[in-house]
Symmetry: C2
Subunit: 180 residues, 2 copies
Amino acid sequence: MDKRSHMIAGATRAFEAQGFRGIGVDAVLAPSGASTRTLYKHFGSRDGLVLAVLEQRHQDFMARLNDEGADPVGKLFDALEQWLAEHGARGCMLLRARSEYAGANEAIVTLVRRQKEEFEHEIGQRVAAALGHPDPALARQVWLLFEGATAAASVSDLSIISAARQAAKVLVEAARTRTP
Amino acid sequence: MDKRSHMIAGATRAFEAQGFRGIGVDAVLAPSGASTRTLYKHFGSRDGLVLAVLEQRHQDFMARLNDEGADPVGKLFDALEQWLAEHGARGCMLLRARSEYAGANEAIVTLVRRQKEEFEHEIGQRVAAALGHPDPALARQVWLLFEGATAAASVSDLSIISAARQAAKVLVEAARTRTP
DNA sequence: TGCCATGTAAAACGATCACTTTACATTCGC
DNA sequence: GCGAATGTAAAGTGATCGTTTTACATGGCA
């Protein structure tokens, strides 16, 4: 892995544990052992590194969702459960960045909005696969459960993910019987 | 209103717009016009003010939920919709504080966890009222929808709250037919 | 009247911030 | 073997951070 990727991975860990604004560049670079000079060569600024971290984080998570098969909606929550078990449950890093940089860095706010639209679209495809036809309203509801589970897990325990998966199942089943 | 309440109200607005860590004490005190000396007389430290803001915010929101009546679960989302229309949708301030101060101020993390437990308990009472008997699993699911709606509204529009209310209705109805 | 509580204004504290610069080591294609 | 690229180490930039301090104004209560 090249230096740039190392820096992104290390910075991701630092931001995840301590937030984005409440940490200095030295602490951000410590996990990767990079110097501040290398930071500004590669990313131009601290905020440039933040943007790179968010891009990578979104790609990494979306890549986890790739295994299609039976119960595509339920697999969403399987992936979330595994992800949170690995990374720890501290709330969605993208939304955390959005709220910390609101009013300070519009590029970050815009990026996160676009990423969430992309994610909601992915859920829409899975809902359509489960139902046999698209159902944007149901997709939104499943998305709500997903974001709720991610947020709630930071103040609860991981069993909350199963509650979300079960709720999604009930909603999908209700939609199926409504339009059979 | 006394000075202390003014400072809390002003600081709440500042934190809401710009986050907790990415803002200096001068900007926090600007809305109330208080001096830094008064800040440290009343709250001891910047973090002390943050704690007071979070306590007040939780009490204010819980007070909004007090009107009981028909459809106690649906009224949760009515209150949320009204709240977000007034305050703007930037994610739950309590969870935002939790994630920004994780690893830096344990008192804040502990406070938010307790507040969320209290809120989940309130939902449990409403679910019991709607169903005629307690259903902790359903209460958890409604809570998920609530937190999901709060989070999602920051990157979507307020119509997402209606989607959450509708999903909660479906879940309650499913629970009702399951155990009639 | 006199006094204490409560407030603002403003300067100063050392620490830390994001960022730049200088100096030097290493690797690699040519 | 040599120059260019890429890296670390470390000092220094001015700005801003949270906090303390000094000085002074105001008000209600004894």
